[in-house]
Subunit: 511 residues, 2 copies
Amino acid sequence: MAGTEDKKKSSAKQSGGKKKEVKKETGLGLSNRKADNFGEWYSEVVVNGEMIEYYDISGCYILRPWAMSIWEVMQEFFDAEIKKMKVKNCYFPLFVSPGVLQKEKDHVEGFAPEVAWVTKSGETDLEIPIAIRPTSETVMYPYYSKWIRGHRDLPLKLNQWCNVVRWEFSNPTPFIRSREFLWQEGHTAFATKEEADAEVLEILELYRRIYEEYLAIPIIKGKKSELEKFAGGLYTTSVEAFIPNTGRGIQGATSHCLGQNFAKMFEINFENEKGEKAMAWQNSWAYSTRTIGVMVMVHGDDKGLVLPPKVASVQVIVIPVPYKDADTQGIFDACSATVNSLLEAGIRADSDVRDNYSPGWKYSHWEMKGVPLRIEIGPKDLANKQVRAVRRDNSAKQDIPSADLVEKVKDLLHNIQQNLFNEAKQKRDACVQVIHTWDEFVEALNQRKMILAPWCDEEEVEVDVKARTKGEMGAAKTLCSPFDQPELPEGTKCFASGKPARKWTYWGRSY
Amino acid sequence: MAGTEDKKKSSAKQSGGKKKEVKKETGLGLSNRKADNFGEWYSEVVVNGEMIEYYDISGCYILRPWAMSIWEVMQEFFDAEIKKMKVKNCYFPLFVSPGVLQKEKDHVEGFAPEVAWVTKSGETDLEIPIAIRPTSETVMYPYYSKWIRGHRDLPLKLNQWCNVVRWEFSNPTPFIRSREFLWQEGHTAFATKEEADAEVLEILELYRRIYEEYLAIPIIKGKKSELEKFAGGLYTTSVEAFIPNTGRGIQGATSHCLGQNFAKMFEINFENEKGEKAMAWQNSWAYSTRTIGVMVMVHGDDKGLVLPPKVASVQVIVIPVPYKDADTQGIFDACSATVNSLLEAGIRADSDVRDNYSPGWKYSHWEMKGVPLRIEIGPKDLANKQVRAVRRDNSAKQDIPSADLVEKVKDLLHNIQQNLFNEAKQKRDACVQVIHTWDEFVEALNQRKMILAPWCDEEEVEVDVKARTKGEMGAAKTLCSPFDQPELPEGTKCFASGKPARKWTYWGRSY
């Protein structure tokens, strides 16, 4: 690309002998390409985009401000929405005693291998080891049992923003699979299954909005298979995203109906309106910092991160482009004025007026960080009372009369947000393959597709498919059965078992 | 008190046979008095006020929504203020490897006995034990070393909102001393000591505002002694509160200048403007959920919590007071209308329209929870187009014409906030005792005073005072040397050593 070449030249020319050092310090330029070495590209882009720093304990990562600000935008949205639903925030301890952790058998089996145990304080051995929460069902529910006595205590709707620890050994990946991560976990209890069912979907819709409206990532809403559902729960719904480059599905967030299983174990009973003893219906739901990783994977390109405007802490970066004889002060003043106008209009704008970096270097730097819109102001722009706007998503350039600045920038940001979603949806849709037979399934899997197949919905068949597709790339499994079901004509057979198909289900390799 | 008696009668009459059960479920009424059994009173009030639930692991507590909402109000204030100062939020891991933890000798000595160690995941022993952060200096600073290269990388100002763990064995107390707690920790690095010094005080002023403007608690700003300063730092400033009932000082929050000590250990160097190698100056500062405990201790009374309006999640509770032949629907409608008017004016109001509790029971319930203002609406109020307002802080009653509702309630809330601070200050000030001799010191200590004494500022003298005052109640120590120093006439002697006094310092027992 000519643009990139220009930048390199400009950078080399202006920073002269310091170029090499500058390059080392800020990690300008990626040495891996997204299409060629996706894994290396991802590691490089999260570090060079200053979202992540690798940490000296494997599987733990530092979330730098550039990532944290994205988390905060999503948090602000979600927290306000659940407060409208009368969910209240609380904070339960990080630690769980072993007795409580092991109370729900299926649940503990699902998490036990990944639980981190504290056994010492200072030089002293603890009397009994204490677990660090991998999730908080067993932490919270003994107290739900205490707090819920009568029907007037229901619904009980709590949420916490916290860290959890799952000491996994497979493929630690920043944001996507880390030993400690940040999330919210909502835990609610209702008098009736109907209320619980309704909330599961209400929350799932918020998760869809986080992905589609904030992160510009298309997702599929659906129900998990029995094999893939939350350990100990009744059913799990999820939003599923897809990474075209690796051909892997990724569970975006989950909203579980736990049914009455935990209520039984933890004795969460209440006296209903008729004065009879009844058992509570429970949900739990969570989304984590994984969201940020999915965003990087879906939108990032060979120049670095690409941030959707709605979550970018800097939506517009203004860069002065002084030229030898030009009115340098005038250019810098125009930059400040531009930033101020945008800030006043509620647009998150900043300028980069450092004098030790060339404009070209700055272009690359802010492209690496994924800022949605760059505004350049040079002598010609000053003379013409305009600014030049360059979009991060498609590199399109446009001169904007200074008089129309705010309006045009708002339009552009809106447009970028929409375009990122549309592009991502187009790519995702191109990966979806509808199949009917095992041979088609295997071929589509080899082509890294997100496979929509008629399925008999039997657990042993899913186990069998996993076994038959086991390999270096990982086995195929169900992603979800979409709520939006295509027609399933009478007599359609399961692609894997040949038995009558009961539903369309997405299959694929996954994270 | 007649008022209390009335309520009890009313409650007994209207809830009839259910009274006992109701009392058990919500813990109405305190069995301990603040003046008689302070410790038991405190435990009871945080539980019955629904701030805390005791947890099955000693020293860990559940922060219920009523406490969490207070934390969120303070967080919103502080987070916005530090963002104005260009501090950015980030998130570093919960875990620290032993090598890094032990890098700064004084620092690790200060924390080592309280560090919790993870040694196992699932059934597998870890190769090396991993510590849980008691604070994050050693977690963060290796990366500051990496990120800070030139003077343009400074100042670096990061903050995180997180949990930390200090496995202490002495006197766990909800909010005040718990094995896990929530806090913010700011960690900043500067090119010059002047900038670091200035920030220490800027942050300390925010801590003062949290205590004085939000929690209505008077504090003293000052500097910690060498013995009491942060392990490994250069100097520590703090805001110190005082609990008159126990005669103990309590460190409210700390803002440390770390000097260059950590920078030396972690090699946080940079090239200054002259191209020379220089070492960064660092600060760290934190406040925690302890703030909430101090608030409970200072303002709470024998009826329960007393919340300052600025941090109360419910500032006004509206209670219908129906009477047999009266227009019940009209009363309920007036309650909704009142809540809506207040909400529209930005006042956090709610109503308690439950039909299974009597008005008297509700009065006690919301008094226990500390809601600043209660509004009662009965037939007479309806007829007179007024509401009755009852203050939590001083039980004062006032009829407010409905037409003046918003304005009067705003005034009242403002007044309550101010009054709580004034009352607390008066009580605190009454506990301050200026002394000059050892005998006076011992007498004041026995009287549970906050002692202001001329001191030679020598570490061994403080050690000696601690040794000489050791006893069941705990030894006396320095709280802080106030920035606001009274005159120290030439020739004034240290109360303890008889050497020339160098400063006035607050002494006392403390939490």
